[in-house]
């Protein structure tokens, strides 16, 4: 009986092995290496020494880590929680009232930015926010003279670019959620004389609250991990005005060769991801008992 049960689970083994070797091992190694002075080259590369919590102490005495952590919080809050989430909901709500043709064309436009390979989206965003780019051309038509966005307002540029790139996901989640809201409920409210915003605040939003929670978790995780968009648009600069945590971890590890410090930054990010991941799993478990 016991061996039989074991044999039944045998097909799961390849997946478990892959997950152990390529996901769990790097995570474990990250936590370990963050307590060493491991480096890309030199003596510390061949024989890394245990340095205790030095890397973590340096993190909080250094200026670059607190700044990167703050920029990451602003980037996630502005582009995911506010930008993608609110815009995605707004688009999905507008689609329920608009003509089908308009909804399908706009849906395609929004999804296009999301399906494109990230490097192509990043190049397009780079061109768009360039000093001579499309955004300043549009501002010029209205008589204004736009700044050099990537240089003067790098954070604004990457926030807008990430909103543009990622809104499709929230839109798709909310379109599916709104399609499940029973018509009768909305109609009954309409009969009771509820106004548009009242129906939204007291009926529609409470009905799709679990979708909102799941969506917020997922887009937060996705936005925490954004690297390519920022790397192509500003490379974290000028100075470190747009260096979020993934960019900082990359720079410390590969530009300055300090793997120990780079993995310490990475470990903080992994821990953050784990917290959000745990909340996400908990939310889903509550939804389907």
């Amino acid at each position: 009986m016991r061996t039989r049960r074991f044999l039944r689970l045998l097909p799961v083994v390849p997946s478990v092995l892959l997950l152990l070797v390529f996901l769990l091992a790097p995570v474990a190694w990250s936590f370990y290496a963050s307590f060493t002075d491991a480096a890309l080259s030199g003596k510390a590369a061949r024989d890394p020494q245990w340095v205790g919590a030095d890397n973590y102490v340096r993190m909080f005495s250094d200026d670059s880590f607190p700044l990167a952590a703050w920029l990451t919080v602003v980037f996630v809050a502005a582009s995911a929680v506010l930008g993608q989430n609110v815009l995605g909901l707004l688009i999905a709500l507008l689609m329920t009232r608009s003509r089908r043709l308009v909804a399908s064309w706009v849906g395609t436009a929004v999804v296009a930015a999301w399906v494109l390979p990230e490097i192509v989206a990043a190049f397009a965003a780079y061109a768009y926010f360039n000093r001579d780019g499309t955004l300043n051309q549009v501002l010029g038509v209205f008589g204004g003279e736009g700044p050099d966005w990537l240089y003067s307002f790098p954070l604004v540029a990457i926030v807008l670019a990430n909103t543009w790139r990622g809104t499709a996901f929230s839109m798709l989640v909310y379109r599916a959620a709104l399609a499940d809201v029973p018509r009768d409920v909305a109609e009954a409210a309409l009969m009771d004389g509820a106004r548009g915003w009242q129906r939204l605040a007291f009926i529609t939003l409470p009905l799709i609250r679990s979708s909102i929670a799941t969506n917020l978790m997922l887009i937060t995780l996705q936005t925490l991990a954004v690297f390519t968009l920022i790397w192509v648009m500003t490379a974290g600069g000028p100075a470190s005005a747009s260096t979020t945590l993934p960019v900082l971890a990359y720079q410390e590890a590969f530009k300055f060769g300090d793997i120990g410090y780079g993995t310490a930054v990475a470990s903080v990010l992994i821990l953050l991801g784990m917290v959000f991941g745990a909340v996400y799993v908990k939310l889903l478990r509550e939804q389907r008992p």
Binding site: P11, S15, W29, P117, R131, T134, Q137, L190, F254, A266
Partner: protein
């Protein structure tokens, strides 16, 4: 009964008092949506116009003399075809590994009740939430230790693992929708578990498997950071990395060629996405197999 009466009442309302205000609300939604749509298209417009403009800059403008010069310039073996072939190898390899591992894992999870199932599925789900960019520094360290650096096969297995949690989750859901009764009928006819899986379950969920395959393929095709870190020699790099090193390091002066390259590189995933989003509805028709 009550609903239909309500609807009739609503209809009456809209023909009398609310008629024009409803139409106005609809027009308002159309206009608001169209404005949003234009904002989303604007950054892509440059890509399309610059690709056919040999004198392209960062400005969005209709080319003075449109030509296919940019496309012809980038369509060389070392600039386009080799990187695209590498992209295809990486993405197809990743997708094959994913589908194989996911089908194997999903079968016992879907067919046998066990205490182990739920915790496993939730651990897998938790795995989907790890920020992949965060583990690239440790993965690089691991690849150095194991001497996997610059290995196409190792990169494929790593990329497959990053999408595997999602693939297992999706495959299990698709497999759950294949009715157990059909499989049991095959068993009664003397088929082994493996034969039943191959001849009954997999054919019935082939659309679902197609969705998983394409989903993973699109992710791998667009991935820049992983091959950027793990593949060092230019002969192995996929299009995402070669485009970055070519145009990033050569001072990005050939804007038109950059746009042309971007379009050629993006077309496959756009086509695949259109395929999946259209087929998505059909794969759920599967649950009707029992009624049919």
């Amino acid at each position: 009964m009550t609903t239909s009466r309500l609807r009739a009442q609503l209809g009456k309302e809209s023909t009398t008092a609310g008629g024009s205000s409803r139409a106005r609300a609809k027009l308002g939604a159309d206009i608001a949506l169209a404005v949003i749509g234009v904002c989303f298209v604007a950054p892509l417009l440059w890509l399309l116009l610059a690709a056919v403009d040999p004198q392209a800059g960062y400005q969005t403008k209709v080319p003075a003399a449109a030509s296919t010069e940019n496309f012809r310039a980038v369509m060389t073996p070392e600039l386009l075809f080799q990187p695209l072939a590498n992209s295809f190898l990486l993405s197809a390899g990743t997708a094959v590994v994913n589908v194989l591992a996911a089908v194997l894992a999903a079968y016992p999870l879907s067919r046998y009740q066990s205490r182990f199932n739920k915790p496993f599925m939730y651990t897998v789900l938790f795995g989907t939430s790890l920020p992949v960019t965060a583990i690239m520094v440790p993965v690089y360290g691991l690849f150095v230790q194991l001497q996997f650096l610059d290995s196409m096969a190792a990169t494929i297995f790593f990329m497959a693992t990053t999408t595997l949690p999602m693939a297992i989750w999706m495959t299990k859901n698709f497999m759950d929708s294949v009715p157990l009764e059909l499989e049991e009928a095959a068993w009664v006819d003397g088929a082994s578990t493996l034969a039943a899986l191959r001849s009954v379950v997999l054919p019935l969920m082939r659309q679902g498997l197609g969705v998983v395959f394409i989903f993973v393929f699109i992710q791998a095709w667009g991935n820049f950071f992983v091959p950027f870190i793990l593949l060092l020699s230019t002969g192995k790099q996929p299009a995402a990395v070669s485009i970055f090193s070519f145009f990033g390091q050569h001072g990005a002066i050939a804007y038109g060629q950059l746009a042309a390259f971007s379009i050629l590189y993006s077309v496959p995933v756009l086509v695949l996405y259109a395929l999946v989003s259209r087929g998505m509805g059909n794969s759920f028709a599967l649950s009707g197999a029992m009624k049919g």
